[in-house]
């Protein structure tokens, strides 16, 4: 395996807009909102940025194609700006571009910014859009919740779990995330919910109810990265460094070959194993302090706990119900409220997760700060469907530790 990027790149500034139904804002406004916070945090001048990456997935819904929307919105000094799109992993992909640019020495300081303005569709949920000329002629008429909901059927069949037990476990996932979101002023949703509310909610796609699905919202988040040496020269102490960045992409096996049973994410298992190796993590259940995962749907979060090799296979339901992933548990999951409460402005979500890690690692997370500041945090994105997806994993921690 390659040497990897562990401790080669430092995060010196991050910003995150308020997420929600930002009826009065354009995508440009959200980009500036996140960027101003990151710039002030980094303590640099905008003109010191050498290169930038813009993440946005459904560009026809707001800014359009290419890197120009970011360059124009921030009046960047005619530097390289690359737009990336890789389903729901887009934000982490922008981060990977910026981090790799710094790690390679091609840039001293780089910017990764994700933005999505989804609330101009006129309806709830993700926009209905073409899936490609040929795909549209044969793919099932599936929505995102309908694709992810199928994890439940396959997981139950594999592990012999009753409908009721699974429903209770995934309800706990959502109750926990809403509880966390109530302590986060930047989250879209700040309300707590009860098990009864979650389990009794209208069904969106069997067995997922309304509260098993993350919201749809507008938002932006960004990161400014540089070398640890430059970070030190900027006067930064307790530097937060990137420990690992991995991406795994389906190659059609899950969709077309009968070796996959539908109950887990093959890509997450690959990406997390590689990320632990890159970061030098031997036993994730013992060494990882905090996780932000792609809880687009409650059942996704449940099976992801196993795919990250934290809950042994078949035991995620027990860990979840035991409170292992609650804010006061052994490894809090979605301590900021997750996609469940932030909603999922696609391009922004990956960077929003890293933003929370960045705050928690520095002890700056306010009311929701973990008492004992975490040392190692993991973020996870998943785009596409269980049977064909992209999975990104990042691990961040204190520089040199």
């Amino acid at each position: 395996m390659a040497k990897g990027i562990r401790d080669k790149v430092a995060i010196v500034g991050m910003g995150c807009s308020k997420f929600g139904e930002r009826w009065d804002k354009e995508a440009d406004d959200l980009m500036v909102e996140a960027f101003e916070e990151a710039l002030a945090d980094a303590g640099i001048d905008k003109n010191q940025i050498d290169a930038a990456w813009l993440a946005t997935a459904i560009e026809d819904q707001h800014v359009g194609k290419s890197g120009t929307p970011l360059s124009v919105a921030l009046r960047l000094p005619q530097i390289a700006v690359t737009r990336v799109e890789n389903f729901c992993a887009s934000g982490t992909e922008a981060f990977r571009g910026a981090v790799y640019a710094v790690a390679s020495g091609a840039a001293d300081i780089a910017l990764a910014l994700g933005v999505e303005k989804l609330k101009d569709t006129g309806y709830g949920g993700l926009p209905q859009r073409s899936r490609g000329v040929l795909n549209s002629m044969w793919w099932a008429n599936a929505s995102a919740p309908g694709n992810f909901a199928q994890l439940a059927a396959a997981y139950r069949a594999k592990h012999g779990v009753s409908k009721e037990d699974l429903k209770r476990a995934i309800a706990h996932v959502s109750v926990k995330s809403h509880d966390n979101g109530s302590r986060n002023p930047k989250a879209h949703l700040n309300n707590k919910v009860t098990m009864e509310q979650v389990m009794g909610a209208p069904i969106i796609a069997e067995p997922l109810g309304l509260f098993d699905c993350c919201g749809v919202s507008d938002g932006s988040a960004c990161a400014i990265v540089t070398t640890p040496e430059i970070a030190q020269s900027l006067g930064k102490k307790d530097i937060i460094a990137v420990k690992a960045l991995q991406l795994s992409v389906s190659n059609g096996v899950e969709a077309q070959h009968n070796s996959w049973d539908g109950s887990y994410f093959a890509t997450t298992r690959v990406a997390s194993r590689k990320a632990y190796q890159e970061a030098g993590v031997k036993n994730p259940r013992e060494e990882i302090d905090l996780i932000e995962v792609h809880d687009c749907f409650s059942v996704t979060e449940l099976v992801t706990m196993e795919d990250l090799h934290i809950s042994p296979e078949g035991t995620a339901i027990k860990d979840v119900l035991d409170g292992f992933y609650d804010h006061d548990g052994r490894i809090p999951c979605q301590i900021d409220g997750g996609l469940k409460c932030f909603g999922h402005p696609i391009g922004a979500s990956g960077l929003r997760m890293i933003y929370e890690m960045y705050l928690q690692l520095q002890g700056k997370a306010g009311e929701r700060q973990r008492a004992k500041a975490p040392r190692l945090g993991l973020t996870h994105n998943l785009g596409g469907f269980p049977h064909q997806n992209v999975c990104s994993i990042s691990i961040v921690g204190r520089y040199g530790e």
């Binding site: 040929l134 099932a140 599936a142 929505s143 309908g146 396959a154 069949a157 796609a205």
Partner: protein, 479 residues
């Protein structure tokens, strides 16, 4: 070796709309409907039309094999989805028949199906000919036709060989008797008075045709064991039988009570039903009325018991689900304009070049089989999907339509747009290898579970209302 019917089959959609629900909704307006509220009519799903029903009937007729050497496909209907695109060509594609197959559409009269069968029997090619007839008539709400019609199809394979029924004689008449008509571009039929249709139409045009038929064959009406006379007007079939001396007991059930009149398909549907019951040597008369009359006299052979359809009319009639939601019927048939929501607005433009390039995959449900490792996969691709193989350019065409599959994962989706929510779909894994995330049809959410056996059926994928184009693909339904 005689010329005759080699195989036969039918298709009747699963839903049976209860006539009392139609009457309950409409008798405030037309109180005469009150007497017609008995029984049920076959109701096509939103994703069925005359092409998909013809494919289903043809598959019922042919079974899994039985397609080798078919020389022509004749498709008859007055409700074909395309006015200018060979509809029979879609049927041939769905059956994976070779490009050398001839294709013909027959339309414009209720006897088009029997005419096509009659012509095929009269002038057989050197190869067997498939004749399919299907109908899904659009009818106005509160019309008598809405109550008497049903959706359905039938198919017959005709040629030389081990016929299950041989042609004895045929007769025909062409008379421009306009009992009803549907003008170009008009969605609904316009009808004249029933009593006139009965007295001046059926009773004066059909009997002389039948007398000529019997005379040609040198048999008397008393020799007829099965008389298929599609007509839902009361007592017409019995009265015609009497006029030509066919015994009352030979008059076949017109399926009005449990299916309805399937229009162009109905003479073939009734014939298929009769063939299920016919014994060797029995004589069968089938007639069709419509601007004249066609009539065939067939004799069941000793082979009658040897080729049975996969389900047949009685099998399809038994595969039945009561439908009491009249609004759903009106919505499926676009008689009322339902607010379908923004998610239905997605542009469904079809790249015809891509459809053509991928026609065996999309219409024929043909995937690939790796010649190196044997793995079945859909769609066919350049590189084998088996992670232990990954051979390049190794796949040969592999039809999937007749493979047995089982549900691996599923959902019932209330979010995505469907004309009949919830949209049910899931991953279906074929026992022989290969899998597909596929739409389900004709299933109720509570019937679905992991491991359930599923059959593949040819259905409408979606309709592009802006451009009037119907797209087809395959779906999974309970086996």
């Amino acid at each position: 070796m005689t010329v005759g019917i080699l195989r036969y089959g039918a298709y009747i959609p699963m839903r049976r709309l209860q006539r009392k629900t139609i009457v309950a909704a409409n008798s405030w307006f037309n109180s005469a409907l009150k007497s017609q509220g008995k029984g049920e009519r076959a109701m096509a799903n939103w994703d069925e039309d005359s092409v998909t029903m013809a494919v289903a009937a043809a598959r019922d007729c042919l079974g899994e094999g039985g397609r080798d050497g078919i020389g022509a496909v004749h498709l008859a209907s007055t409700s074909l989805p395309f006015a200018d695109r060979l509809n029979a060509g879609i049927v041939a594609g769905a059956l994976n028949l070779p490009e050398t197959t001839a294709g013909h559409d027959h339309s414009a009269t209720q006897r088009a199906g029997l005419s096509a069968l009659s012509n095929a029997l009269a002038a057989p090619l050197d190869k067997p000919v498939l004749v399919a007839a299907a109908e899904k008539r659009r009818t106005k709400a509160a019309s008598p036709l809405e109550l008497s019609s049903g959706d359905g199809a039938a198919a017959m394979l005709v040629g030389e060989g081990e016929a299950i029924a041989e042609l004895v004689a045929s007769a025909t008449r062409t008379v421009d008797f306009v009992d009803h008509y549907r003008g170009d571009g008009v969605p609904y039929d316009y009808m004249w008075e029933e009593r006139w249709i009965r007295d001046e139409g059926y009773n004066k045009i059909v009997p002389p045709t039948l007398k000529e038929l019997l005379a040609k064959a040198g048999v008397s009406g008393a020799d007829i064991a099965h008389f298929c006379m599609p007509c839902t007007l009361s007592k017409v079939a019995a009265s015609i039988a009497k006029k030509v001396g066919i015994p009352e007991g030979a008059v076949r059930d017109n399926l009005a009570a449990g299916c309805g009149d399937t229009g162009v398909a109905h003479p073939l549907v009734m014939l298929a039903h009769a063939l299920e019951d016919a014994r060797p040597g029995q004589l069968i008369v089938v007639a069709a009325f419509g601007q004249g009359c066609d009539a065939l006299l067939l004799r069941a052979t000793d082979a009658i018991g040897r080729h049975k359809p996969a389900r047949g009319v009685s099998g399809w009639l038994a595969r039945r689900r009561e439908e009491t939601n009249y609004q759903k019927f009106l919505s499926f048939n676009e008689v009322i304009e339902v607010e379908r929501g923004m998610r239905s607005e997605l542009d469904k433009a079809t790249a015809l070049s891509s459809l053509y390039r991928n026609r065996d995959m999309l219409t024929g449900f043909v995937g690939g089989k790796c010649t190196v490792c044997g793995t079945l996969q859909f769609p066919r691709s350049n590189v084998c999907v088996n992670p232990n193989c990954n051979a390049f350019h190794s796949q040969e065409p592999q039809p999937f339509a007749d493979l047995e599959g089982r549900i691996m994962s599923y959902t019932a989706d209330n979010l995505t747009y469907s004309a009949d929510p919830p949209a049910c779909y899931g991953m279906v894994q074929f026992d022989a290898g290969g899998r597909i995330m596929i739409d389900f049809t004709d299933v109720a959410p509570e019937e679905i579970d992991v491991g359930k056996k599923m059959d593949m059926v040819f259905r409408i994928k979606d309709v592009d209302p802006q451009r009037g184009f119907t797209r087809y693909f395959w779906k999974a339904t309970a086996a």
